[in-house]
Protein backbone atom coordinates (compact mmCIF):
# COMPACT_ATOMS: atom_id res chain seq x y z
CA UNK A 1 0.00 0.00 0.00
CA UNK A 2 1.43 3.37 -0.93
CA UNK A 3 0.89 5.82 1.87
CA UNK A 4 3.48 8.32 0.83
CA UNK A 5 0.98 10.65 -0.76
CA UNK A 6 -1.83 10.24 1.74
CA UNK A 7 -1.93 11.33 5.35
CA UNK A 8 -0.98 8.51 7.69
CA UNK A 9 -3.94 6.41 8.72
CA UNK A 10 -4.61 4.38 11.83
CA UNK A 11 -4.74 0.62 11.82
CA UNK A 12 -5.82 -0.39 15.34
CA UNK A 13 -5.74 -4.10 14.55
CA UNK A 14 -1.95 -3.89 14.23
CA UNK A 15 -1.26 -1.61 17.21
CA UNK A 16 -0.31 -4.32 19.68
CA UNK A 17 2.21 -5.92 17.33
CA UNK A 18 3.53 -2.74 15.77
CA UNK A 19 3.83 -0.55 18.86
CA UNK A 20 3.09 -2.67 21.97
CA UNK A 21 6.69 -3.24 23.08
CA UNK A 22 7.73 0.30 22.21
CA UNK A 23 4.89 1.79 24.24
CA UNK A 24 5.57 -0.58 27.14
CA UNK A 25 9.22 0.49 27.28
CA UNK A 26 8.21 4.11 27.04
CA UNK A 27 5.90 3.70 30.04
CA UNK A 28 8.30 1.52 32.01
CA UNK A 29 11.12 4.01 31.60
CA UNK A 30 8.98 6.62 33.28
CA UNK A 31 7.01 4.84 35.97
CA UNK A 32 9.52 2.01 36.68
CA UNK A 33 6.74 -0.33 37.69
CA UNK A 34 5.88 -3.26 35.42
CA UNK A 35 2.25 -3.61 36.45
CA UNK A 36 1.62 0.11 36.18
CA UNK A 37 3.36 0.26 32.79
CA UNK A 38 1.20 -2.58 31.48
CA UNK A 39 -1.93 -0.91 32.69
CA UNK A 40 -0.93 2.41 31.19
CA UNK A 41 -0.35 0.83 27.78
CA UNK A 42 -3.75 -0.86 27.92
CA UNK A 43 -5.46 2.36 29.03
CA UNK A 44 -3.70 4.36 26.34
CA UNK A 45 -4.56 1.94 23.53
CA UNK A 46 -8.19 1.74 24.57
CA UNK A 47 -8.39 5.52 24.88
CA UNK A 48 -6.79 5.80 21.45
CA UNK A 49 -9.31 3.37 20.05
CA UNK A 50 -12.16 5.47 21.35
CA UNK A 51 -10.56 8.67 20.08
CA UNK A 52 -9.35 7.30 16.75
CA UNK A 53 -11.76 9.43 14.75
CA UNK A 54 -10.01 12.54 16.06
CA UNK A 55 -6.70 11.49 14.44
CA UNK A 56 -5.87 14.06 11.78
CA UNK A 57 -2.73 12.49 10.43
CA UNK A 58 -0.52 15.39 11.41
CA UNK A 59 1.93 12.96 13.01
CA UNK A 60 2.69 9.28 12.68
CA UNK A 61 0.50 6.65 14.27
CA UNK A 62 3.25 5.87 16.77
CA UNK A 63 3.72 9.51 17.78
CA UNK A 64 0.00 9.88 18.25
CA UNK A 65 -0.22 6.78 20.44
CA UNK A 66 2.87 7.83 22.37
CA UNK A 67 1.39 11.25 23.08
CA UNK A 68 -1.71 9.62 24.54
CA UNK A 69 0.42 7.26 26.62
CA UNK A 70 2.56 10.13 27.84
CA UNK A 71 -0.50 11.95 29.16
CA UNK A 72 -1.54 8.77 30.97
CA UNK A 73 1.96 8.42 32.45
CA UNK A 74 1.96 12.04 33.63
CA UNK A 75 -1.42 11.50 35.30
CA UNK A 76 -0.14 8.35 36.97
CA UNK A 77 3.01 10.06 38.26
CA UNK A 78 1.02 12.99 39.58
CA UNK A 79 -1.38 10.70 41.39
CA UNK A 80 1.51 8.72 42.87
CA UNK A 81 3.32 11.81 44.13
CA UNK A 82 0.08 13.14 45.53
CA UNK A 83 -0.80 9.83 47.15
CA UNK A 84 2.54 9.76 48.89
CA UNK A 85 2.37 13.43 49.76
CA UNK A 86 2.93 14.71 53.22
CA UNK A 87 2.37 18.27 54.23
CA UNK A 88 6.01 18.81 55.11
CA UNK A 89 8.85 16.95 53.44
CA UNK A 90 9.95 14.29 55.92
CA UNK A 91 13.44 14.79 57.29
CA UNK A 92 16.05 13.27 55.05
CA UNK A 93 18.90 11.78 57.07
CA UNK A 94 20.87 10.91 53.97
CA UNK A 95 20.82 14.46 52.62
CA UNK A 96 21.52 15.90 56.06
CA UNK A 97 24.46 13.58 56.45
CA UNK A 98 26.19 15.15 53.44
CA UNK A 99 26.91 18.27 55.46
CA UNK A 100 28.37 19.09 58.85
CA UNK A 101 26.26 20.79 61.49
CA UNK A 102 27.82 24.05 60.36
CA UNK A 103 26.62 23.41 56.78
CA UNK A 104 29.96 22.52 55.21
CA UNK A 105 30.48 19.55 52.88
CA UNK A 106 31.48 16.49 54.85
CA UNK A 107 33.04 15.07 51.71
CA UNK A 108 33.84 17.83 49.25
CA UNK A 109 32.84 17.39 45.62
CA UNK A 110 35.93 16.27 43.77
CA UNK A 111 36.90 16.73 40.16
CA UNK A 112 35.33 14.09 37.96
CA UNK A 113 37.59 12.30 35.56
CA UNK A 114 35.15 13.38 32.88
CA UNK A 115 37.96 13.78 30.35
CA UNK A 116 39.00 10.14 30.57
CA UNK A 117 38.05 8.16 27.51
CA UNK A 118 35.09 5.97 28.33
CA UNK A 119 33.90 8.23 31.13
CA UNK A 120 31.78 10.47 28.97
CA UNK A 121 28.21 10.76 30.12
CA UNK A 122 26.86 8.97 27.06
CA UNK A 123 26.52 5.44 25.76
CA UNK A 124 24.77 2.28 26.85
CA UNK A 125 26.90 1.68 29.97
CA UNK A 126 26.30 5.17 31.21
CA UNK A 127 22.58 4.79 30.62
CA UNK A 128 22.56 1.57 32.63
CA UNK A 129 24.40 3.26 35.48
CA UNK A 130 22.05 6.23 35.38
CA UNK A 131 19.02 3.92 35.28
CA UNK A 132 20.33 2.08 38.35
CA UNK A 133 20.88 5.38 40.16
CA UNK A 134 17.35 6.55 39.32
CA UNK A 135 16.07 3.20 40.55
CA UNK A 136 17.65 3.80 43.95
CA UNK A 137 15.81 7.07 44.55
CA UNK A 138 12.93 6.95 47.01
CA UNK A 139 9.81 6.46 44.82
CA UNK A 140 8.16 9.79 45.51
CA UNK A 141 11.36 11.69 44.91
CA UNK A 142 11.91 9.76 41.67
CA UNK A 143 8.36 10.33 40.45
CA UNK A 144 8.65 14.05 41.14
CA UNK A 145 11.96 14.19 39.30
CA UNK A 146 10.66 12.29 36.25
CA UNK A 147 7.51 14.38 36.21
CA UNK A 148 9.59 17.56 36.29
CA UNK A 149 11.39 16.43 33.14
CA UNK A 150 8.60 14.91 31.07
CA UNK A 151 5.76 17.18 31.97
CA UNK A 152 7.24 20.19 30.20
CA UNK A 153 5.15 22.29 32.55
CA UNK A 154 7.01 24.83 34.61
CA UNK A 155 7.95 23.70 38.10
CA UNK A 156 5.14 25.83 39.52
CA UNK A 157 2.56 23.90 37.52
CA UNK A 158 4.05 20.63 38.67
CA UNK A 159 3.52 21.83 42.25
CA UNK A 160 -0.19 22.29 41.67
CA UNK A 161 -0.37 18.97 39.91
CA UNK A 162 1.16 17.02 42.74
CA UNK A 163 -0.44 19.00 45.54
CA UNK A 164 2.91 20.04 46.92
CA UNK A 165 3.99 23.51 47.89
CA UNK A 166 6.70 24.91 45.66
CA UNK A 167 9.12 24.61 48.53
CA UNK A 168 8.21 20.99 49.14
CA UNK A 169 8.67 20.13 45.48
CA UNK A 170 12.01 21.91 45.24
CA UNK A 171 13.21 20.05 48.29
CA UNK A 172 12.25 16.76 46.62
CA UNK A 173 13.95 17.70 43.36
CA UNK A 174 17.05 18.79 45.24
CA UNK A 175 17.18 15.50 47.10
CA UNK A 176 16.76 13.61 43.86
CA UNK A 177 19.64 15.48 42.20
CA UNK A 178 21.90 15.26 45.22
CA UNK A 179 21.45 11.50 45.30
CA UNK A 180 21.89 11.11 41.54
CA UNK A 181 25.01 13.23 41.69
CA UNK A 182 26.51 11.17 44.48
CA UNK A 183 25.48 7.90 42.87
CA UNK A 184 27.08 8.83 39.54
CA UNK A 185 30.19 10.24 41.23
CA UNK A 186 30.76 6.88 42.87
CA UNK A 187 29.43 4.45 40.28
CA UNK A 188 30.33 6.15 37.04
CA UNK A 189 33.27 8.37 37.82
CA UNK A 190 34.49 5.92 40.43
CA UNK A 191 35.22 8.58 42.96
CA UNK A 192 34.19 8.94 46.51
CA UNK A 193 33.82 12.72 46.69
CA UNK A 194 36.33 14.08 49.15
CA UNK A 195 39.01 11.50 48.60
CA UNK A 196 42.22 13.13 47.44
Amino acid sequence: MDRSAAAPTLDPATWVDAHGDYLYRFALARVRDCDAAEELVQDALLAALTARHTFRGRCSERSWLTAILKRKAVDWLRAEVRRRATREPPPDRWADAQFTRGGKWKAKPDEWSADDPGREMTGADFRDTLAACLEKLPPRVRHAFVLRHIDEAAAEDVCDAVGASANNLWVMLHRARLRLWRCLSVNWFGEEPGTP
Binding site: P12, A13, F26, P109, L184
Partner: protein
Protein backbone atom coordinates in the same frame (compact mmCIF):
# COMPACT_ATOMS: atom_id res chain seq x y z
CA UNK B 1 26.15 31.30 53.03
CA UNK B 2 26.80 27.69 53.96
CA UNK B 3 27.64 24.98 51.42
CA UNK B 4 24.39 23.25 52.40
CA UNK B 5 22.42 26.34 51.41
CA UNK B 6 24.49 26.85 48.26
CA UNK B 7 23.78 23.25 47.20
CA UNK B 8 20.04 23.88 47.57
CA UNK B 9 20.20 27.04 45.50
CA UNK B 10 22.34 25.30 42.88
CA UNK B 11 19.58 22.74 42.50
CA UNK B 12 16.77 25.27 42.58
CA UNK B 13 18.32 27.41 39.88
CA UNK B 14 17.82 24.40 37.58
CA UNK B 15 14.07 24.64 38.23
CA UNK B 16 13.39 28.30 38.43
CA UNK B 17 14.83 31.80 38.17
CA UNK B 18 16.32 32.58 41.55
CA UNK B 19 15.50 35.92 43.13
CA UNK B 20 18.32 38.37 42.63
CA UNK B 21 19.58 38.37 46.21
CA UNK B 22 19.92 34.58 46.22
CA UNK B 23 21.62 34.63 42.88
CA UNK B 24 24.07 37.24 44.09
CA UNK B 25 24.72 35.30 47.30
CA UNK B 26 25.30 32.10 45.37
CA UNK B 27 27.54 33.91 42.89
CA UNK B 28 29.73 35.17 45.70
CA UNK B 29 29.80 31.83 47.47
CA UNK B 30 30.89 29.92 44.37
CA UNK B 31 33.54 32.56 43.72
CA UNK B 32 35.25 31.68 46.97
CA UNK B 33 34.26 27.99 47.31
CA UNK B 34 35.84 25.60 44.79
CA UNK B 35 33.84 22.63 46.08
CA UNK B 36 30.50 24.31 45.39
CA UNK B 37 31.77 25.58 42.05
CA UNK B 38 32.50 21.97 41.05
CA UNK B 39 29.19 20.83 42.48
CA UNK B 40 27.35 23.42 40.42
CA UNK B 41 29.01 22.25 37.22
CA UNK B 42 28.54 18.58 38.02
CA UNK B 43 24.94 18.91 39.13
CA UNK B 44 24.08 20.72 35.91
CA UNK B 45 25.62 17.84 33.94
CA UNK B 46 23.75 15.26 36.03
CA UNK B 47 20.46 17.04 35.53
CA UNK B 48 20.99 17.36 31.81
CA UNK B 49 21.92 13.70 31.42
CA UNK B 50 18.97 12.58 33.54
CA UNK B 51 16.59 14.85 31.62
CA UNK B 52 17.78 13.38 28.33
CA UNK B 53 17.43 9.88 29.68
CA UNK B 54 13.91 10.47 30.92
CA UNK B 55 12.88 12.12 27.66
CA UNK B 56 14.30 9.33 25.51
CA UNK B 57 11.79 6.58 24.82
CA UNK B 58 14.54 3.99 24.52
CA UNK B 59 15.77 4.74 28.03
CA UNK B 60 17.95 1.66 28.14
CA UNK B 61 15.10 -0.77 28.62
CA UNK B 62 14.77 -3.99 26.68
CA UNK B 63 11.61 -5.33 28.27
CA UNK B 64 8.63 -6.46 26.21
CA UNK B 65 4.93 -6.31 26.90
CA UNK B 66 3.97 -9.74 28.30
CA UNK B 67 2.37 -12.08 25.73
CA UNK B 68 -0.74 -12.59 27.82
CA UNK B 69 -1.36 -8.86 27.93
CA UNK B 70 -0.82 -8.64 24.20
CA UNK B 71 -3.34 -11.42 23.56
CA UNK B 72 -5.89 -9.73 25.79
CA UNK B 73 -5.36 -6.38 24.13
CA UNK B 74 -5.59 -7.82 20.62
CA UNK B 75 -8.88 -9.49 21.57
CA UNK B 76 -10.32 -6.35 23.15
CA UNK B 77 -9.34 -4.18 20.20
CA UNK B 78 -10.72 -6.70 17.69
CA UNK B 79 -14.02 -6.90 19.61
CA UNK B 80 -14.32 -3.12 19.69
CA UNK B 81 -13.59 -2.81 15.99
CA UNK B 82 -16.18 -5.49 15.33
CA UNK B 83 -18.74 -3.64 17.44
CA UNK B 84 -18.09 -0.37 15.64
CA UNK B 85 -18.21 -1.71 12.11
Amino acid sequence: MTCRRAAELISWELDTDLPLHWRAGLGFHTLVCGACRRFRRQLGAVDEAAAEFVADPRAGIRAALPDETKDNLRAVIAARLEEDS
